[in-house]
């Protein structure tokens, strides 16, 4: 049984990579969007740009995992191809995990490109092990958040709209452009309920900058968000096929 499920996850990821993620629109969106943000911030203030790198990598993680995935899951639900996957001898969580991992792997590719460029061109000191400890659970958490919001709605455009709300809220509240510690106390409480805060904090820690909590705390909280989002998404998807 577990072998069937592992095989299912593997082939779903491979198929999604081929049919959705490694297509020009996804790749160009995944590269162009963070590049545009990086250039915008760099041109505004080249001297303090290094401070913004963790936030920009966090944004790359957030957008590259959720942008294509929202389309993939809703489109497949609408066309019935997700149902086709469920007819195979694999479980429903397997199908969803396959979809989430597809988004996470695509996000990983984009994040590695942006991070490598930042480190090489800016000569930033970095702890690679810490980076891995933060990037992996972040990718999984945001990919499963995308899956959760997708299964809440029926149409592709509804999923994109619904996803924009937490995405843009997190950009402003989670320390990407403005440190959480400098925010009013009320907003800080809100910021700490959002996964991107822990991603930004963990990335700052990895780049040997000031951070609010330890790398282990950030990593564990992000893993917790991943488990919470994926379990809720499985429950909601299961309800659709009840």
């Amino acid at each position: 049984m577990w072998r069937d499920n592992l095989r299912g996850i593997y082939y779903i990821v491979l198929k999604d990579m081929r049919t959705y993620y490694l297509k020009p629109p996804s790749v160009s969106w995944g590269i162009l969007f963070p590049t545009a943000w990086i250039l915008a911030f760099y041109l505004r203030n080249p001297l303090s740009f290094q401070e913004l790198v963790p936030g920009l990598i966090a944004m790359t993680i957030l957008f590259s995992t959720t942008a294509a995935e929202a389309v993939v899951i809703n489109l497949e639900l609408k066309l019935g191809t997700l149902e086709r996957l469920l007819l195979a001898p694999i479980s429903l969580p397997t199908v969803l995990l396959g979809k989430v991992l597809g988004g996470a792997i695509f996000g990983l590719i984009m994040t590695v490109i942006v991070t490598t460029c930042s480190v090489v061109f800016l000569g930033l000191p970095v702890n690679v092990l810490y980076l891995i400890l933060i990037i992996i659970p972040s990718l999984l958490a945001f990919s499963s958040l995308g899956a959760l919001l997708c299964v809440l709605v029926k149409e592709v455009f509804e999923a994109q709209t619904l996803l924009n709300f937490p995405r843009f809220l997190m950009i402003f509240l989670c320390g990407i452009v403005y440190p959480v510690s400098a925010m009013p106390e009320g907003l800080q409480y809100i910021a700490y309920t959002m996964p991107l805060t822990y991603t930004v904090d963990g990335l700052r820690y990895s780049f040997l900058m000031f951070s609010g909590t330890t790398i282990i705390t950030d990593s564990l909280v992000l893993t917790g968000f991943f488990i919470l989002f994926i379990l809720l998404a499985i429950k909601l998807l299961h309800k659709r096929f009840k």
């Binding site: 049984m1 095989r7 082939y11 779903i12 195979a88 096929f241 009840k242």
Partner: protein, 323 residues
Amino acid sequence: MSNDVVIQVSDLTKFYGKILAVDHIKFEVKKGEIFGLLGPNGAGKTTTIRMLTGLSEPTEGKASILGFDINSEIVEAKRHIGVVPETSNLYDELSSVDNLLFMAKLYGVPRAQRRKRAEELLKTFRLYERKDSQFHTLSRGMKRALTIAAALIHDPEILFLDEPTVGLDVVAARSLRNLIANLRQQGITILLTTHYLEEADLLCDRVAILVKGRIVKVDTPRVLKTTAEEESVIEISIDGDVSKLVEDLTDRLPRVKIVAVDRNKVRIYGGILNDVYDKVFRLARDKDIVIRSVNSIKPSLEDAFIKITGLSPTVMAIEKGGR
């Protein structure tokens, strides 16, 4: 469960909220037969297939496929079944052969056999020339054929076909029916749903007639037709619309069933022949109706269906959208 029963359904029931879609249905499907669920749209055919294939949970009742309980062992059951849903739902972006290979991988077909099996199926379904064409470029009939091929990639013992020919033109539908008939010769048990009476008659060894979620009759098409043979069936064609004729005849022949077959044709089921002919001709004379033809006809499955369910054949003619 006897050895030759491969699907056993007992009191299977499905509620969607307060709507009862399937109401305590019971039937058995024997190894190697083509069993049809026949009924109008909304009768509960697709819901039944969805429950049996693990896409929907039954509210009540039990069913087993090859001895595997659908409530607790559905994943195991899925290894032995192929499913062709009502919508041809393969991947538009993948070619015919890649769609089959992807399904083969999901079902765990050994690597060495995948391509061979996929190519065999493409040849059987006359799609080999289009093996590199993306799914979205295929005609509706080809998409349907490829969806059936995909359901057969892991060599299943049982095939579920939900409205296999819906939305196809006459030629494509006939070709697909031939292919389905050939599958039986390969020993595959088939459970199909259809709202085409002719299809059920041509393909099925046994038919369960489903109306409003309940099975009203299960038997062979031949026995079902015999049910209708017990009474006379007269078909009258007239110039003009038959609706008024149906109304007037219903008044004059209260104990017979009068059904409009199409705009100009009406069928009269039962009654004493002399009396029926007499009243029809008298009515035609009184109302200046021009009769084109009067035939005493051999009952079809459609006549049996009308007799058993009391439904008009126009209910069965309401099409579902196919892809």
